[in-house]
Symmetry: C3
């Protein structure tokens, strides 16, 4: 019954999705309650609501359309993004809730708008990771991948909080920078394990088209425009609300510099003096990622701009010169270039945060202690993401999930009903 060009998902996707969805509903039945918000201040609610909407747009629209640059994979990129994010958000709500309720000794998980924002941040880390395997995995694999990624990300946060006794103040997420580092490296290892040795190095369908590039531009712009809201998502939770102007302005300026730098260096690094749309779209986001860790330190604007400049430079050059090298040398095929778009700027931001923090600490003992903690957190996150990425890759390699054939990669035809093609336009 299945068409010869692609294995049918009829016996895989519906049962898995149905099972997971029913399990989530059952867990919600017994464990989740909506928090009574009568005591919350009106302004706090409205501000959270505004930020929530921005992050909501980023997670469900931005990441999905960012990946639509693949000329024949637009339906899948945008729709699977929704599928994965919708699952990830439910799962992250449960996991975050369990950790929170243990911490406060509640028997129930209490959710509110802030829980949804936190859950969407966890989903964002899964979507970052998904960028690396985009086009080479089917939706069942993506669901499994997402569940493990979200679990790993939450576990990593819990580990950091437990080991280092950070002032958590009702919040389990430590930094938006970690989202990108964890997600980027996790996805990278998974795609390494899933490497299809028989596939040609440059797949025929793995390219941008005139229309698909514009769709990707839409997604990119929504991510780019709302990144200040993402970076300020954690700020109100760490008790320094007077610094939110600094968070918004610094992220904004860093992103502006990042966009200019990406275009300039994309032209400079091309022998014909031409821009590459995919490089630009990816690298203009690097500034927002890198500055994520430092915004809460309220640096001067020029510091944020310099970080944006360096992140975008690293990202553009990495994309241009090292992406193919990664493929040939390490058999590591990274569809959206998450290594150079998310992981490298994230790590850059992490060290920028370290330097800026050290500069503000006068006492040398505290400074050394901070530096050790800070680097340990990075090492734990990196190890965790690499190990879990490999494990996930091994699980996804299982033939049971019916991965698509090599020639069906990056092609909507494998998963979507299409009407007969138009004979005349």
């Amino acid at each position: 019954m299945a068409p010869k060009y692609a294995p049918s998902l009829r016996a895989r996707l519906p049962p898995v999705a149905f099972l997971l969805q029913t399990t989530f509903i059952v867990i919600f039945t017994f464990c989740v309650e909506i928090e009574d918000s009568r005591n919350e201040k009106e302004e706090v609610f409205i501000y959270t609501y505004a930020k929530f909407q921005d992050i909501h747009v980023m997670v469900f629209l931005g990441f999905g359309f960012l990946a639509t640059f693949l000329v024949r994979y637009g339906f899948s990129s945008s729709a699977f993004n929704v599928l994965v994010a919708a699952m990830a958000v439910q799962w992250a709500t449960i996991l975050n809730g369990i950790l929170m309720s243990q911490h406060f000794g509640d028997s129930k998980i209490h959710i509110n708008l802030k829980s949804l924002v936190d859950a969407e941040l966890c989903a964002a880390s899964a979507l970052v990771a998904m960028g690396a395997i985009n086009g080479k995995t089917n939706p069942v694999q993506l669901l499994i991948f997402t569940l493990i990624e979200v679990t790993g990300f939450v576990l990593n946060q819990w580990l950091i909080q437990t080991l280092f006794k950070r002032p958590i103040q009702m919040h389990w997420l430590y930094s938006t920078t970690l989202i990108n580092i964890f997600g980027g490296l996790f996805g990278l290892m998974t795609t390494r394990v899933l490497f299809r040795s028989k596939m040609e190095p440059k797949h025929e369908k793995e390219k941008v088209g005139r229309t698909s590039g514009l769709f990707a531009m839409f997604g990119t712009l929504f991510l780019w425009m709302f990144w200040p809201s993402l970076n300020s998502a954690l700020e109100s939770n760490i008790g320094r609300s007077e610094k939110r102007i600094s968070v918004l302005c610094n992220t904004y300026l860093s992103l502006a510099v990042s966009a200019v730098t990406a275009m300039a260096f994309s032209v400079l690094s091309s022998s014909k003096g031409k821009m590459n749309l995919v490089h630009i779209q990816s690298s203009m986001l690097a500034g927002g990622i890198a500055v994520g860790g430092t915004v809460t330190l309220a640096p001067a604007p020029w510091v944020a701009m310099t970080i944006g400049f360096c992140a975008s430079l690293l990202s553009t050059l990495g994309f241009r010169y090292l992406k193919d090298h990664m493929l040939f040398a390490f058999d590591c095929h990274d569809t959206n270039g998450v290594l150079f778009v998310h992981a490298v700027p994230g790590i850059l931001g992490w060290f920028a945060q370290l330097i800026l923090s050290l500069a503000s600490i006068s006492h040398s003992t505290i400074a050394v202690r901070f530096a050790v903690h800070h680097i340990c957190i990075l090492l734990i996150t990196v190890s965790m993401s690499l190990v879990m990425g490999v494990i996930t890759g091994l699980i996804l390699k299982w033939k049971f999930w019916k991965p698509q054939l090599d020639r069906n990669c990056y092609d909507d035809q494998a998963f979507w009903e299409f009407p007969h093609l138009l004979t005349h336009k």
Copy 2:
């Protein structure tokens, strides 16, 4: 002078639009004033403004682009949506204002941001209805259609309020669920009357394309992402503002479950195990529609999720198995599938509301009385929409409106100037 392939609208659309627009301006001149908002609390204004912007995006962008899946009808779908919504909003402002000013004994209509939100909700019901006749009617017919639909919808609300003496508290709209039930059934009857018997069952141009599907995805996502704001539009008006977190979280969770379910069952119901983009886009909204009636009752999250699951299931299966049946058995051609996307989930939500309300009422007399009222409101709405839909269909059948020819259906060429086609891409 008119081209042979489509009747010219030059003698129809400008006079009708000009006449209506001038009439509206004249009515505004004598009857409408902007309300002095000096006494309004700052937070209420900001919150209303945020919700207003979300609903504004849904009405003018979301509904229009949802319908752009038709491969050759993108210009018309998106632009006529703006035309119709812009007219509907003005007309609804006047009608709502008249009812309100009568109620309060004012001689003038006072408008503020909340009036615009209410007017946009009325416009939304017209846009839902328009989905059924999309592609088969010209803009003049759409204008007439919209005026009658909005009038009918406001009349229906007025009837319900008058007959059942609901606590109205400065608000004439009763429930967001009714928007979908009224709009869906109204459109369905109109399209039944307008049925073109000579047209082939499956029109050559009535299909989704690679690019048009992605545009529709954009529209769908904006509707999907901002649906929590739509459901919370009425919440602040019914004096239970402490429940708004419940409204937002429940709608959000219901929509998330709805999206997952739509994809799972679209695959399951396909013999080749493939997804259908149009089904998914429509059905992922069903959860938001169905949960619309129950959110103000602040149910537990799992209840909202279950409603989302059932609504999406009904919608996907209806779309897959019954849509063609509706066409062959009842001569009822429903372009966007409004019956299964809006009416059926709406009715499901209505009964969910009934059951949840009954469960919370301990006194049996009150419970019976509530149930009778609740079902009567549904019956009135259904009858009203069906009758007015038929009447509208009969009016639109009039040749005077110069409907497009069968072969020009679903085609922008009938209404839009096109440059010469590109010879090479």
Copy 3:
């Protein structure tokens, strides 16, 4: 090394962009500080933040995608818009800051969210002007063009403030209407000077396509939907915050009327009774531009609607009948039609503001004085924009900037790397 079909920008764009960006970072290092916002009221912050996000979307997404109607120029339209806006925002922040700090006698520039909003409004005026030369200039020329335009615009505001001692209250921008008048006329003169006499009157690639039209519709709708936020951007700064409902409602109604009028008159003025998508997209914005000057006077809604009607009428007819005339009679090629979309509605709005103001002033001496001032401000702005537009045109004519060849106009191929074209779709 450079391909024969287009001059390489490798030796031009990166140095110019790098130099400008580094200079900006250096200026920021020594002169710019983020303002301490601890004393700001919570509601003011949230409201500014909401408006900021809307204007952010308009500037970085709206204007860019509005120009994507050019069938082969989508990448450039959207990406160069980001490049130009990102530069303009930084430059405008510096210039506005210098004027403000001089005024208050500070040694440093203090920025906050409001500074970013002001900077984005200056960037908007550059983007308006850019519409006239879109497709005929390379990104290096656009950068130079933007710097001069923003400088001119800020200088013009400063001149007006200094000469007429307006109550400035911490704000250097005088009216959103001036943005459109200045930008429109500036761009017009630049394109006149840059006129390519050898290019065919109607370039082969200067036309709308099925997909590019829909992308432009997206951009248009985001501008159209968020225009009320743009018009209210200055309102809170002029100390009449009780009038903001009036600003929002009036702009909203004016835009609704504008959209209906644009479609009606596009059909009426076509011999075949068909709509022209580009005309409609441009003219539906005219209402928001024209009403921009009068909203702060809080006129009755019908006045705003009438202004919207007249602006859209003028714009549609100008676009249809006079745009080609401008080209043949004055050698003035205006790609996006900024004269009829921005400048003419702006001037109409300016006179509407004059009439409405005069009607509310009872004392004749004050009225005459106001009228003289008001007309002088217009004349100064017009002269300033025309003169600076010519100068900019002369600077951009310099061959050093490597302008693209005539046959590469309106074509992404000149600036972007493309994969090999698809052989089958």
